[in-house]
Amino acid sequence: MAVESQDINLLANDNRGKSQLEAGFDLLGWDEVTQGSVLPSFDGDATQVAFQKAEERTYSGYNSYTATVASWRVVKPIFNIDVCIDCQNCWVWCPDSSILSRDKQMLGIDYDHCKGCEICSEVCPTNPKSLLMFSEYADIETELSQWPQKQKKEKK
């Protein structure tokens, strides 16, 4: 039975990962930059931000949520939802807020923000792992269809 692969744009807000960091915005003139280089994180009322999931928030164009570091990757994690036990190790240790976990369920990777550091895969406790690293150009469906089998633990 085919493992369900995640949507690449899983839980993406309208503007997640739309801007490039290097070019940033269009390079604006002195008359358009913010006063004191102060940056607001949200558009609209952000009082409830702690209680809102990312996809519910109105991020401002100045929030790095709207930028992407996908180009940093040479390898990417692929997530096998069938093997996963929702332990949330990957969620707590992802340095880039790129593990998409909702209501105690690990749902997938935020490929806009993942840098391919491989920590999620390292800390994944399942056998076989639920997160494995592949070339950035690997096809997700293909890799899921040939996921490694359970490994025998070598006696030390």
Binding site: G17, S19, L21, G24, F25, V33, T34, S37, L39, S41, F42, A46, T47, V49, A50, F51, Q52, K53, A54, R57, Y59, G61, Y62, N63, S64, Y65, T66, A67, T68, V69, W72, D86, C87, Q88, N89, W91, V92, W93, C94, P95, D96, S97, S98, S101, D103, K104, D110, D112, H113, C114, K115, G116, C117, E118, I119, S121, E122, V123
Partner: protein, 317 residues
């Protein structure tokens, strides 16, 4: 204070991150793990200040910010003073009733690397703590000035090579022992100081929550393995912290009110420090015959320090 549930990791994972991706920290950097953890420990409003350093430089580069709460960076030394000023203003405005929402709970947190905490910002931290501002200071200790290319700080351990205390044919790297920041901060008679590590997420979360809930100044030192300067693969950050805590290079303990020491983690099996040192490129020169005695010195220092911690814990001082 609205603390979040840390009963288990599944519950903890239901928090909504207030630290966003597409910051420019190195892949695998432990700093952001700990920032995320701090921000997920509470639902309260946060005002955060940060000293110049990797964290600051990577999370607020115009025109982007990765912070979903109010955040201020002034300079290299003065995050503690900045947060003290903010905390004082909050007190006054609350008294006068001039806040947008006078009842909104808020916590004040300052972040600094080891460079700004142990060295250039030391006075500022000491002053803010002495004045009893109600804030939590978290040191993200990667044992060098990583942001500027890996120079030595007073947090750099003996035998580590850094760009300004280099190992070579005539030197084994840093010669001075790491400054005991925990003892120094505890000597300020602070309500709570703790040394924590990101591999023990729950212990860290508990420590953060305790610090946030405690009135007055609290200090938390954290080990933040730096793949770029410690020279290991980004994927091994958590593995390195396991070695750090299990070799007791980074013992985890807390000191309450300056004199009540509790060890938080006792490794089931204490690893020889060689295992920890061998996993990082910054120590590889120590494995040469002419410098092996430094490893022995490091081990002996660890043993002495661990014995001292245990004696203090027993004596309840």
């Amino acid at each position: 204070m609205a603390i979040t549930s840390i009963k288990n990791l599944k519950e903890f994972s239901t928090n909504n991150d207030r630290f966003e991706g597409a910051h420019t920290l190195c892949p695998g950097c432990a700093h952001s793990m700990m920032v995320r953890e701090l921000m997920n420990c509470t639902d309260d409003n946060l005002v955060i200040s940060t000293n110049t350093g990797c964290l600051e430089v990577s999370t607020a580069v115009y025109p982007f910010t990765s912070w979903d709460t109010s955040w201020i960076h002034i300079g290299f030394e003065n995050a503690a003073s900045a947060i003290g000023g903010a905390e004082a203003m909050h007190k006054v405005r609350k008294r006068k009733g001039t806040l947008a929402d006078n009842d909104a709970p808020v916590k004040f947190v300052a972040f600094g690397g080891d460079g700004s905490t142990f060295d250039i910002g030391f006075q500022w931290l000491s002053g803010a703590v002495e004045r009893r501002h109600d804030f939590t200071y978290i040191c993200l200790d990667n044992e060098n000035y990583a942001n500027t290319g890996g120079q030595r700080s007073s947090a750099t351990p003996i035998g580590s090579t850094t760009s300004t205390a280099q190992a070579g044919t005539h030197s084994y790297g840093k010669k001075e022992k790491k400054k005991d920041i925990m003892a120094i901060m505890a000597a300020h008679d602070m309500p709570y100081v703790a040394q924590l590590s990101p591999n023990k997420w729950k212990m860290m979360a508990k420590g953060f929550q305790k610090a946030l809930e405690t009135e007055g100044p609290c200090f938390i030192n954290t080990v933040s393995p730096c793949c770029t300067e410690w020279k290991f693969e980004p994927k091994d950050t958590i593995a390195i912290t396991d070695l750090a805590t299990d070799s007791l290079m980074f013992p985890m303990y807390e000191i309450i009110d300056g004199h009540e020491l509790n060890i938080l983690y006792r490794p089931k099996k204490i690893l020889p420090v060689e295992d920890y040192l061998g996993a990082q490129g910054r120590y590889k020169h120590l494995f040469k015959p002419e410098y092996k005695h430094i490893i022995e010195k490091i081990q002996s220092d660890i043993d002495k320090d661990w014995a001292m911690l245990q004696r203090r814990e027993e004596a309840r001082v």
